[in-house]
Assembly symmetry: C2
Homo-oligomer: 119 residues x 2
């Protein structure tokens, strides 16, 4: 079920390359890759788990409200990171020619369902 959801998000996002659902402890629940191109999803998500933990600590310190979403733009990719709940998050990898806005929307729409399944 998680894999189907990840696949749907990747396939419906223009430029979508892969998505992973992962715990903040760095252990992945499931992933979907369009093909073998793009960065290693597991390695990427483990690195992002650390960054998100640091950012969550920071938003608490700065009192700016709960962290919901982070969009990262590099020379080659967009990465959309979406918090699902306090234990899990999703990362979507998109080509630079793709549409991160659509990816963000699709991930946001799936949060309530994911939350239900994960609790």
């Amino acid at each position: 079920m998680f894999r189907d959801m990840l696949e749907e998000v990747v396939q419906s996002t223009p430029g979508g390359l892969g998505a992973v659902l992962m715990g903040y402890d760095g252990i992945a629940i499931d992933e979907y890759r369009l093909d073998s191109s793009g960065p290693d999803l597991q390695m990427l998500a483990i690195e992002y788990a650390n960054v998100l933990k640091e950012m969550t600590r920071m938003t608490d310190v700065l009192d700016t409200g709960h962290l919901e979403e982070v969009t990262v733009k590099t020379e080659e990719f967009f990465f959309v990171l979406r918090s699902v709940n306090e234990e899990y998050f999703m990362v979507l990898t998109i080509a630079r020619s793709g549409n991160p806005g659509k990816g963000r929307y699709l991930m946001l729409k799936r949060v309530p369902q994911l939350n239900e399944e994960l609790s």
Copy 2:
């Protein structure tokens, strides 16, 4: 000159609250705040300097190309972080009712000029 540029970006972004130009070493060059609302810009930029350094290290490890921009969405704010060069970055704080897309565009447009002034 930096303050005028920061003021222009904040004033031209719907929901813009403040902007700061800062070194990755955590030392600010200049800042502009619309009023005293919103989080402390210096404290925020120091925290984000650490996150950006960690993300730059990570994008190098993952070989995903140079880090250009990060957009953070919390319950209360958007934060747009834009790398200017290897030494400096900008942070723009926007209300959740604002337009981070416009802010991103305005910051991107000012990078070449900033680069020239800073080198």
